[in-house]
């Protein structure tokens, strides 16, 4: 009798489970995909979507790929697989192109879906919206720098499968319209972005009011200089204005750049200042890129975090190889071209002194002596021979110079040989090279110091580094203000802004307004912002690229003359090799001497053709959308 309850119970369970309709039974929501409604339901979900968009920003130079910093004769790439950087004679027209409209579409979709969401708090919504608009403007800025005017698409486009695509084909906007867009977006969103209080180290990884204004200042400055200096290269323009900005617009852009920079400098959008925490100025300069805790200089960064999956191996790729954590590195070798351009403390330019007036070598007691008395940024940017990283002195010297001036060297790192006239083996070449064509040795005589992480494990494959990549920093804002002031004829203000940056580098004698010239502006940005992704764009917007990379092989005379001149040729990376002097009869025995060398792998000379000013738009893009006009000179 009791069994009947059991049967009834089972039957009712079955009935309960089977009363779903078939159509519903098959309509199962996937558990691995988040619906649009859910994604835009609360702010933490929206932040996750936004994080993906943040992660897809495009940088010209990035710590995620060392080779993006290695070109343009500012350094020698000490990895044989990348020797083409110094062996090729020219760049392809398609180089540096970016055309990621999928990213633009997803930013537009994000904005549209965010607008449609009803459950978010108004303040959150406004900030997310401003952040997405910042990312969109920043990517359009990246595109206009490389491609000139591109189609300006501000809503998500969909294909309706009608076979007609006319309404999806947008022509290229004018180059000036792109810059105007970046500037107006920055103005429109800045009020909705938070002020960086520097209370948290990771604050500046997201868009802030300071970041928007820094972007605006840089964009307006670029537009102004393209307008002004583009007049000197009339062939680099298109009649529709897709490439080239009329010279009459230059001053308006410079004024906008200056105003945006001034808002940051005034402190009204956050407590930004030059980083000044270490008494040793070179160490202080290197620390700008290392110090993550309360760094007043950083405005907008790409952040990394250990054990989070988002780390980079820049230190491992570029650390001094000998005795390093992975016994690898040494890839970026800053060239002598860059090293000698760091000025002396009396504000003058001079080659690194290696020979006296009559051509005899100068003998130095310490390896670092020839670099003494220079801009502190030199040792902060470049790992000089005789300096140390992680407590170990780099061992950079190519060999012995004998009494007759001949070189006695080896062909492997730290090789031991018997010197002529002696007995017993001794080391005849540094463990960090330089040895021609021996990859990962300091083939230019220098290693890179900027971005190298002194933390334990940073150079080890299993740990990597969490140093941020700084996209906008305060020193650049000051230099932007200096350049805009200079171009507007106010050299007094220009000197004021520039001297702040120079003082931090140990250049205590201020430049007078009369000292501020175009050459000075060009020089200051080159040394302050080396390897930060500015050099190439600066050369392009000043229309100097075809002048400095003119395809003519450099001679040593070229190298040593006109240092600090904006138009100085820079087609091949030169090296400065240290040697030890071996001559027991001489008082100079055992001292250091230096020689200028062109690394044997450097066979090409950079040629920047007029068609390189704006990267080629892919033929497929142009075939799909006939409204896209071709770049000039291609």
């Amino acid at each position: 009798m009791k069994k009947i309850y059991l049967y009834i119970g089972m039957a009712s369970l079955l009935a309960a489970g089977s009363c779903k309709r078939d159509s519903e039974f098959l309509n199962v929501q996937p558990t691995s995909i988040i619906s649009t409604d859910l994604a835009f339901e609360n702010s933490s979900n929206v932040l996750s979507v936004l994080a993906n968009l943040y992660n897809r920003q495009v940088d010209f130079s990035t710590v995620k790929d060392w080779a993006t910093m290695a070109d343009f004769s500012e350094s020698f790439p000490s990895e044989n697989g990348r020797a083409n950087l110094v062996q090729r004679n020219s760049w392809g027209y398609g180089e540096w192109a970016t055309w990621d409209y999928a990213y633009i579409r997803e930013l537009n979709l994000f904005l549209e879906r965010l607008e449609a969401s009803t459950t978010l708090a108004a303040a959150d919504k406004a900030q997310f919206k401003a952040e997405a608009r910042f990312l969109r403007a920043n990517y359009y800025f990246e595109m206009v720098k490389r491609m000139g005017g591109v189609p300006l698409i501000l809503k998500s486009l969909s294909y309706d499968f009608s076979g007609k695509t006319d309404d999806l084909q947008y022509p290229r906007a004018k180059e000036s319209e792109l810059y105007d867009f970046v500037i107006s977006e920055a103005e429109a969103i800045k009020g909705d972005l938070p002020i960086d209080t520097k209370s948290s180290a990771v604050f500046c990884a997201r868009a802030t009011r300071g970041a928007a204004l820094a972007m605006e200042a840089r964009a307006a400055l670029y537009a102004g200089s393209i307008a002004k200096y583009g007049a000197g290269t009339p062939t680099v323009s298109l009649t529709g204005g897709e490439v080239g900005i009329p010279a009459s617009m230059a001053n308006a852009y410079y004024t906008k750049a200056l105003n945006a920079a001034k808002q940051i400098i005034s402190g009204s959008v956050g407590n930004y200042a030059l980083y000044n925490k270490k008494p040793d100025l070179s160490e202080n300069f290197a620390n700008i890129f290392i110090d993550k805790g309360n760094n007043p200089e950083t405005i907008f960064i790409e952040d990394f975090k250990l054990k989070s999956g988002k780390v980079h191996y820049f230190t491992g790729s570029n650390q001094p190889r000998y005795g390093a954590e992975e016994e690898e590195g040494g890839r970026i070798n800053p060239s002598l071209n860059l090293v000698e351009s760091f000025e002396k403390l009396d504000n003058t330019f001079a080659p690194i002194p290696i020979a006296d007036g009559s051509g005899n070598p100068i003998y130095y007691t310490n390896q670092t002596d020839p670099f003494a008395g220079r801009d502190a940024r030199l040792a902060g940017t470049v790992m000089l021979p005789g300096t140390s990283f992680k407590g170990r002195t780099v061992d950079i010297w190519n060999g012995y110079v004998l009494a007759d001036g001949s070189v006695f060297s080896g062909d492997d790192r730290g090789q031991q040989k018997v010197l002529p006239g002696t007995t017993g083996l001794r080391q005849v070449v540094g463990f960090d090279g330089p040895i021609n064509a021996k990859e990962f040795t300091a083939q230019s005589g220098f290693y890179l110091r900027k971005y190298l992480d002194p933390a334990i494990g940073s150079g080890s494959r299993g740990t990597n580094s969490e140093l941020p990549f700084i996209r906008y920093r305060y020193a650049e804002v000051l230099l932007n203000a200096a350049e805009a002031s200079f171009e507007l004829g106010n050299t007094a203000d220009a000197a004021l802004y520039m001297n702040q940056v120079r003082l931090r580098a140990g250049l205590t004698t201020p430049l007078t307004p009369a000292d501020i010239t175009f050459d000075r502006i060009v020089h200051e940005r080159r040394v302050e912002l080396a390897f930060e992704g500015h050099f190439f764009y600066d050369m392009k917007r000043w229309r100097l690229a075809h002048v400095v990379w003119d395809g003519v092989k450099m001679t040593v005379t070229d190298l040593l003359s006109d240092i600090g001149k904006a138009t100085k040729r820079n087609t091949q990376p030169y090296a400065l090799w240290p040697f030890k002097y071996y001559n027991p009869a001489s008082p100079n025995d055992g001292k250091w001497l230096y020689r200028i060398v062109l690394p044997s792998l450097v066979t090409g000379a950079n040629t920047f053709q007029m068609g390189n000013y704006y990267s080629a738009i892919d033929a497929t893009v142009r075939a799909n959308n006939p409204k896209i006009v071709k770049q000039p000179n291609q």
């Binding site: 062939t235 075809h546 053709q609 142009r622 799909n624 000179n633």
Partner: protein, 253 residues
């Protein structure tokens, strides 16, 4: 040391080979059958077989340019997406393409070459229609800004001397000045601003008589030693990227 590497068999493949030898034959036959059955279709197209050759010239004289620097484009319509067939002129101003028969449109993009290519009223490069059926040789007329006339290159006492006359061809409103002239030498027949072992340059301002320009350049040590160099004169026109050159000449000494 075990250095008989041909017989070195660390993974004992030879044993596996022996074991599977019996079955293998059947597989080979089967595989061959499959391959033959899908491979007996004919290819859809013949390979391109028509030669289009030619040169750029002014009054019958070739325009000498730099290797890999002056491109031209060929377009063929009617096959869906349109993209150019990109090519460059050889240093002596000639070109050669292997193409299918059909109608092609030839252009030289704006800003390319030390010469003027005809333009439409909108400022786009004008099109030259080429109907190709079988081999064809065409002369393409362009108007250079300058021509290098009567170049004379000689070698003596470790120096190459070059004299020539720079004739200004375009003298109307679009005329351009000489930025500089250079004498290049190289070890190979590729001689240009990019490929050279020594160069002497005279800027336009220092040219006193364009009808009689003379330069010399010292031959550096040649490694490995060779008893000849190739020399060439290049003329840079202000505001024009590509130089115009004189013919390459081999000089033995």
């Amino acid at each position: 040391m075990y250095d008989d590497s041909e017989n070195y068999d660390p993974f004992c493949f030879s044993i596996i080979k022996q074991r599977t030898m019996k079955n293998k034959f059947q597989y080979i036959v089967l595989l061959a059958l499959i391959i033959f059955s899908v491979a007996c279709k004919k290819d859809n197209y013949k390979a391109p077989s028509s030669h289009l050759t030619g040169r750029i010239q002014y009054n019958g004289e070739n325009i000498q340019v730099e290797y890999d620097k002056v491109p031209f484009e060929l377009y063929q319509y009617g096959f869906g997406k349109v993209g150019s067939i990109g090519q460059v002129f050889a240093p002596d101003g000639t070109f050669s393409c292997l193409l299918f028969d059909g109608e092609y449109k030839f252009i030289i993009a704006n800003g390319q070459g030390p010469f003027k290519w005809k333009q439409t009223s909108a400022g786009n490069p004008d099109t030259l229609v080429i109907n190709l059926s079988g081999d064809k040789n065409i002369d393409i007329d362009v108007t250079p800004y300058y021509m290098i006339r009567t170049p004379q290159l000689a070698v003596s006492a470790g120096k190459v001397t070059g004299t020539f006359k720079a004739e200004k061809i375009i003298t109307d409103a679009s005329a351009k000045n000489i930025e500089s002239v250079s004498l290049y030498i190289n070890k190979t027949a590729f001689v240009s601003a990019t490929d050279n072992i020594a160069v002497t340059t005279v800027t336009g301002a220092n040219i006193t008589d364009p009808n009689n320009i003379s330069m010399n350049v010292t031959i550096p040590a040649l490694v490995p030693t060779q008893k000849y160099v190739f020399a060439r004169i290049g003329l840079k026109i202000a505001g024009v990227e590509d130089r115009i050159y004189s013919p390459v000449q081999k000089l033995t000494f």
